[in-house]
């Protein structure tokens, strides 16, 4: 594996819950991100998946220090991002950029595309690689670069004078992508880059992101709730649950053999657009909803909903994200990952197991 560009160690983001009219008393913390370790290698794509409220977006923002972490370190290319003061942080931000979820709310409605695209150039200046092509920093060279960027993301040249409302959702997302990529960053964090788009347009944007990665040698951290999308573009996938990583694996392996009970249930819940597969598939339902991150369950955070829950260890012992013997490149935060993998533990409650119609017709009491 290449030398990691991004290393996150024990990252925590806790938001205080305040109550009181005159004196704000802190009565607790929402543990949005609670101790996450991950590494992203150069040129790699790391996918983060999880349900809403699991802290994946907060994690992405905390890596860029758009959200101030309350603990842990973020090393970007060997530099501790958390320790940087304002000016060095500003300088390092040109190398790490973000693509936001909703292109309409992340683009200023009163700013033309030209202004949106040249603003980062005005702040940081052209990337060294672009100087050769476009010359020294000037309004003219910035405009030339913005115009070239439009070509790269597949927007018509005439778009520069237009405003965000004149574009469709997919085109707006292309503007957001162009704005993030115009500085030639090393790391791009894409937070739900396609979830606001129509199905037929999603694929265009996914292909564009892949194309740009090849073209510019980017490293991606893609955050999304759609596991199929994440699996398609990522090399490594991390699954988050309630502020922690519960499983990390190579994206092909993860689908082949999910080991953490949450990943297993998540995989089985994702509908596959193929009736043949859908009819044959066994589903594991999860009970209830995500517990509150202000008061996470003791022990394993998933134990309240876990279909494989055991009588010992699960409720009182926090499982570490550990390598599993016999499954290389895999980290799982479950005490019983080996037993589940080898089929020594099963789902006990038949109510949680939805078998294919043919099998369940015979087995139903």
């Amino acid at each position: 594996m290449a030398e990691p560009l991004l290393q996150v160690r024990g990252l925590q983001v806790h938001f205080p819950i305040k109550r009181g009219l005159v004196v704000d008393r802190t009565i607790g913390h929402v543990r949005a991100v609670d101790g996450v370790d991950l590494q992203v290698g150069r040129g790699q794509t790391y996918g983060l998946v999880g349900e809403s409220g699991c802290g994946k977006s907060t994690l992405g923002r905390a890596i860029l220090r758009l959200e101030e972490p309350t603990g842990g370190t973020v090393l970007f290319d060997g530099q501790d991002v958390g320790a940087l003061r304002a000016e060095p942080l500003r300088l390092i931000r040109r190398r790490m950029q973000m693509v936001f979820q909703d292109p309409l709310s992340s683009l200023d409605p009163r700013q033309s595309v030209e202004s949106s695209l040249t603003e980062p150039l005005g702040v940081h200046g052209l990337a060294d690689a672009d100087r050769a092509e476009f010359g020294a920093d000037s309004a003219k060279s910035h405009l030339a670069k913005a115009s070239a960027m439009l070509d790269v993301v597949g927007l018509p040249r005439g778009s520069l004078a237009k405003y965000p409302h004149e574009f469709s959702g997919g085109q707006r997302q292309r503007i957001g992508i162009a704005r993030a990529m115009i500085l030639n960053p090393d790391l791009v964090i894409a937070d739900e880059p396609v979830s606001a788009l129509d199905v037929s347009v999603q694929a265009q944007v996914i292909n564009l992101l892949e194309h740009l990665q090849d073209l510019l040698g980017l490293t991606y951290l893609v955050i999304a709730h759609d596991l199929a999308v994440v699996r398609h573009i990522s090399d490594v996938i991390g699954v988050m649950y309630l502020g922690t990583l519960v499983e990390e694996a190579d994206s092909d392996d993860l689908y082949e053999r999910p080991l953490h009970p949450y990943t297993i249930a998540l995989m089985s819940a994702i509908p596959i657009p193929d009736p043949v597969v859908e009819d044959r598939r066994e589903r594991i339902l999860l009970r209830g909803d995500l517990p509150s991150p202000a008061n996470p369950p003791s022990g394993c955070r998933f134990h309240t909903r876990c279909p494989f829950r055991q009588a010992t260890r699960c409720d009182d012992e926090v499982p570490a994200l550990r390598e599993v013997a016999g499954s290389p490149g895999r980290r799982v935060a479950c005490h019983y990952a080996e037993e589940i993998r080898d089929g020594r533990i099963h789902v006990a409650d038949p109510q949680l197991l939805v078998e294919p119609p043919t099998a369940s017709a015979a087995g139903r009491s």
């Binding site: 469709s168 999860l286 995500l290």
Partner: protein, 394 residues
């Protein structure tokens, strides 16, 4: 969470979803709802009228799930609102016929329609936050339907509401009845909305993107609930969604809509195995599949759903179609039978029958996690029962 398991712990265990049906046994061959040439036009002040739904026809039988798939702006939601008579009267022209048990809902007096709506016809909306009243407790919103349509006392309605919420998988329904929508999580709100729709055991349920706002694990719970409903009560269902995965698992037949018209209509398996319309083919090729080999680039449909031409001028999909030719510009293309029985396509150059290029057959892991009957090295305790009680060592 399945509603069946819930009531075993309560006094109402004898009343299952099935036995509660007071309606006469369903005749599964009868056509319950027939939509014929539905046409909806929105007039705009000073602008050209928008033809949102253009000659849509389909029919639903009891115990059948009909899917309507399309992207935003394809007219799928307007179709459902027109069927339920929920479109505003001003500026909207609805033509065609919507026959429910032979009676035309479009020409029915408003009072009669109001009697049917909520009791025999029900609808589940997409966004539970905006379709529940935020200043009225959930319980009142459920009992309201019961009091309006059946002759029961308030206390009986309250018990019934509690029972309904429990069946829909809401834990501690007695407490939830007194709560307001904002106190419920998204999944619970959606289940409350389904409970309201099911309150009078409707014969026809229209679901407009019922799971789009939900997380996948909650979506799986809700879809399982809907499946049970169709299987046990023989409810007829119209499922409106943009998610082909949901359609693949739930619907018996599928109508694909584009720019206000049905472009392809086929039984579920037929549609996914042999998509003939270029739009359907494109849609299937553009979604990343969880079980497909990685690395193959997706095949997106070029352009956006807004790049359409009027159906009266030619095929609306032609501007985005890779196979479009001059002869696609034919006014009012018909929805013609093609290939196998029940397959209708509106296309001049349909895809050849066996070119399932999007399909990547691959052995799916279905039985790696063997069922509850399998041999156990370690016992697994039921998480619900042990959260309350003590740990049991197996």
């Amino acid at each position: 969470m399945s509603p069946v398991e819930q009531h075993t712990t309560t006094a109402s265990s004898d009343r299952t979803l099935v036995s509660r049906s007071r309606r006469e046994p369903v005749n599964r061959s009868e056509v319950l709802l027939e939509v014929r040439d539905l046409d909806v036009t929105f007039a705009r002040r000073g602008g050209r009228a928008t033809h949102a739904v253009d000659g849509v026809s389909f029919s639903v039988r009891p115990g059948e799930v009909v899917g309507i798939v399309g992207e935003s702006g394809s007219g799928k939601s307007v179709t459902s609102l027109a069927v339920m008579g929920l479109l505003p009267r001003r500026g909207v022209q609805v033509r065609g016929e919507v026959l429910y048990r032979g009676r035309n809902l479009l020409t029915m007096p408003a009072g009669e329609l109001a009697d049917l709506r909520g009791s025999e016809l029900a609808m589940v909306f997409q966004d539970p936050m905006s379709s529940l009243n935020p200043v009225v407790p959930v319980g009142t919103q459920v009992t309201e339907v019961l009091l309006r349509h059946s002759d029961i006392s308030r206390s009986a309605a309250r018990d019934e509401a509690e029972d309904l919420l429990r069946r829909c998988g809401i834990p501690d329904p007695g407490r939830r009845l007194k709560e307001y929508p904002h106190q419920l999580s998204g999944g619970m709100r959606q289940r409350a909305l389904i409970a309201i729709a099911l309150a009078c055991r409707p014969a026809l349920l229209i679901c407009d993107e019922p799971t789009t706002a939900l997380d996948v694990t909650i979506q799986a719970q809700v879809l399982e609930l809907l499946k049970e409903l169709v299987a046990d009560l023989g409810t007829a269902m119209v499922m409106i969604t943009h998610d082909l995965g949901v359609v693949a698992g739930l619907c018996d037949s599928v109508n694909v809509m584009y720019a206000g018209r049905v472009v392809e209509s086929a039984p579920r398996r037929e549609l996914f195995e042999h998509p003939r319309h270029r739009y359907t083919e494109g849609l299937l090729g553009s979604i990343p599949r969880l079980d497909a080999p990685r690395g193959d680039p997706l095949q997106p449909i070029p352009g956006t759903p807004r790049d359409v031409i009027a159906w009266s001028a030619g095929c609306a999909f032609a501007p985005r179609c890779r196979h479009a030719a001059d002869d696609c510009v034919v006014p009012d293309l018909g929805l013609e039978p093609l290939g196998r029985a029940g397959h209708l396509v509106r296309c001049v150059h349909p895809a050849p029958e066996s070119s399932p290029e999007h399909r990547a057959p691959r052995d799916h892991r279905t039985t790696e996690l063997s069922g509850p009957s399998g041999a156990r090295a370690l016992s697994v305790s039921d998480s619900a029962s042990t959260t309350a009680g003590e740990e049991r060592h197996g």
